[in-house]
Symmetry: C2
Subunit: 411 residues, 2 copies
Amino acid sequence: MPKINSQRLMADLQELRSIGAVETGVVRQALSEKDMEARRWLKAKFEEIGLATTIDGVGNVLGRSTKNGPALLVGSHSDTQPRGGWLDGALGVIYGLEIARALAEDPETADLAVDVVSWQDEEGSFLSCLGSRSWCGTLDPEMEKAATNKEGVKLTDAIAAAGLTDVPRLRIEDGRYRGYLEAHIEQGANLEVAGEQIGVVTAIVGIRAMRFCFHGEQNHAGTTTMARRKDAATAMYELAHRINQDFPKVADEATVWTMGRVVVEPGAPSIVPGYAEIGLQYRDRNEAILDKFEEIASGIADEIAARGKIKVEYERTRAPIRPSEMDEGFQAHIAKAAADHAPDKWRHMPSAAGHDPMVISDKLPCAMLFIPSIDGVSHDFAENSHEEDIILGCQVLADATASILAEGRGS
Amino acid sequence: MPKINSQRLMADLQELRSIGAVETGVVRQALSEKDMEARRWLKAKFEEIGLATTIDGVGNVLGRSTKNGPALLVGSHSDTQPRGGWLDGALGVIYGLEIARALAEDPETADLAVDVVSWQDEEGSFLSCLGSRSWCGTLDPEMEKAATNKEGVKLTDAIAAAGLTDVPRLRIEDGRYRGYLEAHIEQGANLEVAGEQIGVVTAIVGIRAMRFCFHGEQNHAGTTTMARRKDAATAMYELAHRINQDFPKVADEATVWTMGRVVVEPGAPSIVPGYAEIGLQYRDRNEAILDKFEEIASGIADEIAARGKIKVEYERTRAPIRPSEMDEGFQAHIAKAAADHAPDKWRHMPSAAGHDPMVISDKLPCAMLFIPSIDGVSHDFAENSHEEDIILGCQVLADATASILAEGRGS
């Protein structure tokens, strides 16, 4: 099996970190100057090892191996959150680079084709998974036209500012790929808590979100009897608490739901609220559970509305993300490599956060590998992982890349 | 019985309304220029009918009858909410003026002593019931020093700006008063809904308020399992809904409670809330019910905290207002007058809103009379009452004033 160079891996990660570094974190949002600087740096690194590299019309950086396929595409994204960690995205891209290098250096694997990629705007500064959607041909032109960042800058203007307006966009190359592999920090604490080093991702969970709006009647909190009140907040509290009582009855161990955004108007201690609103987001790898949740939540809302005091409106507030199953064959390769390098310190687990394979798995077999996040922190300057885990993860993914491609050699 | 002059009553109400008029409402917050202009206008009106009138060091306007006591003090307040209605406060002050006038004009009641008052800052722009507290000698100097309005202006600076710093403050005159009478709009819709014209107030309800703060742990809404979460908002929803389930078991028909102010932080759909806060306010004329409510709410909070995930802090967020019983003898006089003028169209009822008699009833027997509010609206420019009800209320209170004082004549 090819051996990765851990010093080179860490040096490249640190050099990429320096582009847009702020305190211990990185600020390199999609299509910003720092993002494009990082992409040009990546292009040079990919070219150094002989990959034919393109920055395409949305900023995807794709280094194509000159070897014959079937190829594996390995990578992640190099754009960050507004106050991003240094490993989120960057880790998977530099793994791709190091794996391509390590396989090329080993005579036994030098014939295998590893392409490396950094997708654009996985974090959704403008449009989440912009780069992988564009590559897969599933980017909705209307969504692209409408996309803006938080400051109101249009995606099309940001593309123009980055000098990419007339640059062609890459599309998935028919017949070339066995599949796509991505490594990522866990962004949770499950591995750390269990004292484990590698997560083999089984599926990326589906995500749905709903908003419930309660229309009552604003009134004086002293002179309006309870019988005459139409208290919008009271209805909202009931929905929220009953969801928390009823969802566990149908949830799996890994199912999560959150009601993290609330509005109560006018929001004064002495006024019966005339309006309230609550957001509900829920995630699971099993669509049947997501369906059941939607049914329970809307059932409670309908029951409250049927009492005739409060008008309740609800709607889905984002395009639902369907659960994405990871390829079982690929999972077996990663699991074998994990068992070799970290016996009893790995597990199968779902990804509760979203990643580009949600988009790509409609077109190609995909797999993901997780390494532990210290204290489970992510989307924060404080995000970090132990160097030992970073190095181990790269070696495990390198083994899996080699064994998947070697398997294809016979065909 | 003395007959009030309804045209004069309505003209005075309209003239007072013109001072600080905005749209259909009035903006005349305590110690503002318009408030002081209204007080000088009231002083002139009181003097016109021979009352020895003083604007004291906090802005109370007190017109003292030259007749021997025992006297009745009749009035209310002329300061308003930031966007106040034209009758809230003003009605009771002008009733006092008209009643003093009407009794003086009637030979049979001309010997009776009616003093008229407009208290300062009942609405609490700086310090609720400032004027009546000062007059009763129960104004806490520390509270006065600390008091500011919403714009951060100190009460002491506002008093200076009104030129009152060195003006003496009136104190209750020992032995002079039989008691205090105040008329007010209902600020609710009970009378209107029942088709009634007069409310004889039995008690002003007590008010307590608490704030519950929930300290959990902010986390990623995807990667943090339900088992590991410390969701502050979930605890808050539980408290709120259980309060709404448990309070009705011990509440009376007139008990009210409100949770109108909520904070959930950081307030994002995709983040497990690390902090939540909710305000609870409750009112009843029975202290035992208020005690029981406090016990129930803090019991639920303690139970949630005892599970060890969420730290729950709670505290009273205002000095509790104890229920104030209105004088039963006075109530009988008002009830008799109501029965004479509006047979079957009056009722006994508690006041669910606060008024100066909460303060004064510790020193003097008090009574209040309500007239209907159109649609129950108050603390709003849209506040209004039917002219017929305004006139009837004044006549009823005039009768009661005369009969209470006449009763005292024998003594």
